[in-house]
Symmetry: C2
Subunit: 313 residues, 2 copies
């Protein structure tokens, strides 16, 4: 699965091709929008990945959208991060799973007099507020402890109508009990997961438990399954479709994770490009146990302008 | 499914009978040991359930064993609890899931120079120490926080060869990362769950997230499944068999949970008695979605002496 495969025009559609000067134009010319995952694609922790500014510059004539499962930040916090790295991106071009959670409540007419309990960080609370909802919990409840005393009752707000669970570095027993009581005891209470990534690069040097860890904990105590709004769920695709009016077949999802980014792209009917600058190695991609095949793969996003230049020579 | 069914001697073995004066002797005369779950059977929180002392008195000529999934306490802490409630029970009659975790390591010749990381409470650390192992983590690490700074590395002990996860009211992101790194990065590191109960009566008035919550969190981040040593796994049965030399067909498991106690009894080939003094209601037992049928059910353990008296009249 290397250069020689991509030269063949007899290539089966389902087989993953290495991106190259021979096929890059086929991909670029056939789409009107590029959807980029961020971590492992645009940056790693706080460092920009090589060649990203030039890549975005080259593709600027198309619609560019940044779709991330990271729920810790809001869209505006993300826009700040882009700008601090020297890339000009507006809030409207960013789709975080924290935003997706708020939008899920909005499109489902979640009553404004009901509250939302958050097992997660600031990004979720901020997006809920922007959408007009009242969030409880979050980092604040990370300081609270429980009192396991006979006959003392742990109280919870009966007006909580949804629990949103995302990555939470302040996870504790208090929050787990609070969220569990809401889901088990408040009639009709929704259980929403921003995403289920097992781990994520919270720092440059290593991976940390992801939202999938906190979501699983809540599944363990409630014995219920959540509504997932981030990748690979295609909930966010509805927004992209409405907003940009571009068919999914003319979008290309670029990501570093097979089970979220690429699956998201495949689920939605997009073109797909896996980059090897994040969590997935070529051996994982080619492993017999992997059943998620992107249409193309390449080492990093800057291969796009590089191959485009080579193709025009 | 009430009194009239138990009067029939044509009763199918697989059908659940209400315990009564008509069948109590069949059960009691056919066993040499009673295995009791504790919470919901012997006590609820810190209150003894009605008639327990008389019941144990009546059955004292047989072997009595207390088998609990609660990993928060060690056997000696449990013996103290029994004694504080006015019931004389020795450490040897108690089998906690914390003890089971230590015994699992012992029978599998876990090297004494390897360490055990504990996501759980004092009971696990105490049983590990009694068995000659070195435990790390536990409540102590509940005070620790993580530093999510670029280029700062979260270090873990490479000599950890097993992670034991039980109910942990001090659960936090530090421990989840520590345990996850051990399981993902230390070659051959074992992932042991004391049990997977979704919730438990940590206080009299309500349920709280159980070990199943913390275990699920670790499954979520490691993408691995644990070795379960508590009920319904029959690992502990090996000990009971060796220790008491009583065939499982001559043991009766008495519990309040279908998916742990009764399943444990059925898995091991024991007689089974469900009591309705804990988490399971008659409607749950009779619900069409329930596929775990005990041999007998009754409102509480003191029905045994009550029905025995009625039977001899």
């Amino acid at each position: 699965m290397d250069g020689q495969i991509s030269e063949s025009t007899m290539e089966e559609k389902t087989k993953c091709q290495s991106l190259s000067p021979y096929n890059v134009r086929d991909l670029v010319d056939s789409v009107d929008a590029f959807l980029f995952d961020c971590d492992g694609v645009i940056w790693k922790g706080d460092s920009l990945i090589d060649g990203v500014p030039e890549t975005l510059e080259t593709l600027r004539s198309m619609k560019l959208v940044f779709v991330t499962n990271n729920s810790r930040k809001s869209r505006s916090q993300y826009a700040k991060k882009f700008n601090s790295l020297g890339i000009s991106v507006t809030m409207d071009e960013i789709f975080t799973s924290s935003f997706a959670a708020a939008m899920y409540l909005k499109v489902n007419d979640f009553p404004k007099d009901k509250k939302v309990y958050v097992i997660g960080e600031e990004g979720i609370l901020e997006e809920l507020e922007l959408a007009g909802f009242t969030g409880l919990g979050g980092p604040e409840d990370g300081k609270k402890t429980v009192l396991l005393r006979s006959n003392s009752l742990f109280e919870h707000d009966k007006s909580v109508g949804a629990v949103v669970v995302g990555l939470d570095q302040y996870i504790n027993f208090y929050k787990l009990q609070y969220g569990t009581l809401c889901i088990r005891e408040n009639p009709g209470c929704l259980f929403i997961a921003t995403n289920r990534d097992a781990v994520g690069h919270l720092t440059n040097l290593q991976e940390w438990p992801g939202a999938g860890c906190m979501v699983a904990a809540m599944c363990g105590s409630t014995q219920k399954e959540p509504i997932v709004v981030g990748k690979p769920s295609i909930f966010m695709m509805d927004f992209l479709l409405k907003k940009f009016n571009i068919p999914t077949s003319r979008m290309c999802m670029v990501g570093d994770r097979l089970d979220t980014d690429i699956l998201f792209g495949l689920n939605a009917g997009c073109r797909t490009l896996l980059v090897l600058s994040g969590v997935t190695s070529i051996s994982t991609l080619e492993d017999i146990s992997n059943h998620i095949q992107p249409e193309y793969y390449s080492s990093k996003v800057s291969d796009i302008p590089k191959f485009l230049s080579a193709a025009t020579l």
